[in-house]
Amino acid sequence: MFSLARFPDMLRAMDTPAISTRGLTRRFGDFTAVDDITFSVAAGQFFGFLGPNGAGKSTTIKMMTGLLEPTSGQMEILGQKFTAESLELKRQMGVVPEGMALLGRLTASEYLRFVGRMYGLDRETTNRRTQELLDFMQLANEPKKLVTDFSHGMQKKLALAAAVIHGPKVLFLDEPFEGVDAIAAGTLKTMLQGMIHRGATIFLTSHVLEIVERLCSHVAIIHRGRLVANGSLEELRAGVAISLGESSDQKLTLEEIFLNVVGAGAGEPAQELSWL
């Protein structure tokens, strides 16, 4: 029942970002993979995290999901400080990590049931959701096939199914569309958009800029471990247009924004491979 007494709390919850980092840094010996990153993602946002190869995307997502300890800095998920020991927060999070975290010697349904139970779902709910997810992801036709024998695209779909089986509020996806065919990518996009409509927050890294442009409302770009851009697509477009001296009415693509922000093509002449 609605109560006016709860109004301030509700307002506060709406203001609280779903994800926020402050000074997040990770060093490997002398090499700084992620350098003092601070940003926040509002609840219900589809957030794209972009960067060239080796920029620090996966390292950042690993720190934010507890797979890697940060050298310094802090993270908050759903308004609470997140550490690797935050079990209750982990219950609200779904993750498709870089290595997909699949158990190769199980079948798809065995794996989903295993994950469901590891996230504390009861057996009945786990079985029902497993069946629904297998049907939705078109993985139900291979009931006896082991995960290790799945194609890369099928494994990605299964990893995504496992990440959402417990109905997370915050979803972290590291390259979910890599190796996925156009049909499957369409299925995944539909599912992810559905989750956003229901109020979930999605943090996504991808090299496929068209997908990010179509799905994400906000984008951050990391380059050589440092955050070089952060904002809504419109804000980034306006910023880049100003720096290029063009009219902000001109609709720049995300690819153009990305190339401009990370400075590709400038300064370093491409070496010619005369022998090719």
């Binding site: 507890g66 290595g99 699949l102 158990l103 079948t107 994950v115 069946q131 291979e142």
Partner: protein, 523 residues
């Protein structure tokens, strides 16, 4: 790569363990080689070359069985990755064989054959060419045979159907052996009545059979050459070459299929119906049940792990009667058998995370504590050990009768001490020194010498404590006190296990990155 691996403490320990293990195996090989060399020298000097098979057969067994027994101590290179490059089939086959030369079994077998060669040539220098031909041929046969066996085992273990058939064949062999042996010993009372001629007849038959098998042919070639029957010696060498050719052909067929790009994955089969909630193995919900169920599924799909479990039982059954007097075996058979039974669980307990692969990340992502995961794994280990224990006890009772009350009580109480200690140590090593296990391939296991060596030392230590306590009390006539002493030690063991479990999350968090890096890397 070597310098890179030495940057970590584990890398240094791994190197030290390899040097130690290498030293041990070199010493073992050298002592066997010297022993066999002296034996060969004696036989050749005394003109008793007909006994040569007694030296060559053990080399065959060593060469073929050692790869399985020492799988934790050696690292195998998956040469199929070379197939991405434009290598010819000949060079692929050659590299497969060359890598086989560096297996511990090949090195040990080679040293043994070198010992026999030295002994024979020292005693009969004029046989140099024949001895060299026969022993080199025998070595080539062994190398081809062991590579062929592993290549085919990998093939059969790679697919569910063939894996199940292999598992059933293995089970029937085990059961057959169990029934055959008691049936034989049931008649042991009548053996004295067995006529001498019947025994001689049986020995002659055995000799005839072995003489047409590779070790017999190798020994026969040398023996016949020494007697001046060069034609027969040549025929024996020809027979040996035929065996080598057969093994090589079978290996060639297997590698040829691999070279042509054969996929060892499960054959895709489209089935209209979907596996729903059928096939419930366990009904206890929650993460513990999930991990237990997953572990049992993994185990049932891993021929290698199943083999590791039953291999000590087979060895116990086969070797149980040999080597010791009946009185000693009847008295100490149970504790020795139980201690030996632990070997079957060694890799499961001491590298319990090794089979997870990239799935290890799930344990860090999910809201399940690591101690829950380790507890569930330990429950599986306990269940498996209980089954092993029942089989071991059955074998012991069947063979030697029911043991005395004192030794029975002492063994039971020692078990209460040994089990939690093994589980505690296993959990620590599983988290701190995990290595990736390929669960369906025998010849491509990536072992960890450090883990293997430490787990063996802990096994010896736990067994040593049992022996020391029991014998020291028994010598003073207080063997009955062994059980209470073990119970006190058991309390310490349980405390250690609980402590390790409660620290599992902290340990795993400290080793998180190394664990993910070593287990989740691409196979």
């Amino acid at each position: 790569m070597l310098l890179n691996s030495l940057r970590t403490r584990r890398g240094n320990f791994e190197l030290a363990a390899r040097i130690l293990g290498g030293g041990f195996f070199s010493l073992l090989g050298l002592s066997m080689g010297v022993g066999l060399g002296f034996g060969a020298f004696e036989f050749a000097s005394d003109g008793k070359l007909e006994f040569l098979p007694f030296l060559i057969w053990p080399v065959l067994f060593l060469w073929q069985l050692a790869p399985v027994m020492m799988v934790s101590f050696q690292e195998h290179v998956d040469l199929s990755v070379l197939l991405r490059f434009p290598v010819s089939f000949g060079s692929y086959l050659l590299q497969y064989l060359v890598y086989g030369l560096f297996d511990i079994s090949s090195i040990l077998g080679g040293i043994c054959l070198a010992g026999i060669w030295t002994g024979l040539v020292c005693a009969r220098p004029h046989l140099l060419v024949w001895v060299t031909l026969a022993l080199v041929g025998f070595a080539a046969f062994n190398l081809l045979l062991t590579r062929m066996i592993f290549a085919w085992l990998d093939r059969w273990l790679a697919q569910r159907r063939t894996r199940e058939i292999l598992g059933m064949v293995f089970l029937f062999l085990l059961l057959g052996a169990q029934l055959l042996n008691p049936a034989y010993y049931q008649h042991s009372g009548h053996r004295s009545r067995m006529t001498r001629s019947a025994t001689l007849h049986a020995l002659h038959t055995a000799d005839r059979v072995q003489s047409v098998l590779p070790p017999g042919l190798a020994a026969g070639a040398i023996h016949e050459a020494a007697d001046g029957h060069e034609i027969v010696a040549l025929a024996s060498l020809g027979g040996l070459a035929l065996y080598a050719l057969a093994a090589g052909s079978l290996l060639g067929i297997r590698l040829g299929a691999e070279y042509r790009g054969e996929s060892l994955g499960e054959a895709p089969r489209r089935v209209a119906t979907v596996e729903g909630t059928r096939g419930k193995t366990f009904d206890f919900a929650g993460p513990i049940g999930a991990v237990v169920e997953k572990e049992l599924r993994y185990l049932s799909r891993s021929g290698v792990m199943l083999y590791s479990l039953v291999a000590p039982l087979i060895m116990l059954f086969v070797l149980g009667r040999n080597g010791s007097g009946a009185g000693f075996a009847a008295h100490y058979g149970l504790p020795l058998g139980v201690a030996y039974g632990f070997l079957g669980l060694m890799r499961l307990v001491y590298n319990s995370l090794g089979g997870e692969g990239a799935g290890i990340q799930l344990y860090f992502l999910s809201p399940t504590r690591f101690q829950t995961v380790m507890l569930a794994k330990n429950l599986v280990h306990l269940a498996l050990f209980s089954v092993e224990l029942v089989v071991v006890c059955s074998i012991i009772v069947f063979r030697f009768g029911i043991p005395g009350t004192e030794i029975l009580a002492a063994t039971a109480c020692w078990l209460l001490f040994a089990l939690p200690v093994q589980l505690a140590a296993g959990n620590v090593l599983s988290i701190t020194m995990a290595y990736r296990m390929t669960l369906t391939r025998m010849s491509r296991e990536q072992g960890s010498a450090g883990n293997g060596l430490l787990s063996l030392l802990i096994q010896l230590l736990v067994f040593g404590v049992g022996v020391a306590v029991y014998l020291s009390l028994a010598l003073k006539g207080h063997a009955r006190l062994a059980a209470p002493v073990f119970l006190v030690l058991a309390a310490g063991g349980v405390i250690a296990w609980l402590r390790v479990l409660s620290n599992a999350d902290r340990m795993a968090a400290g080793r998180k990155e190394a664990l993910i890096q070593s287990l989740a890397r691409a196979a």
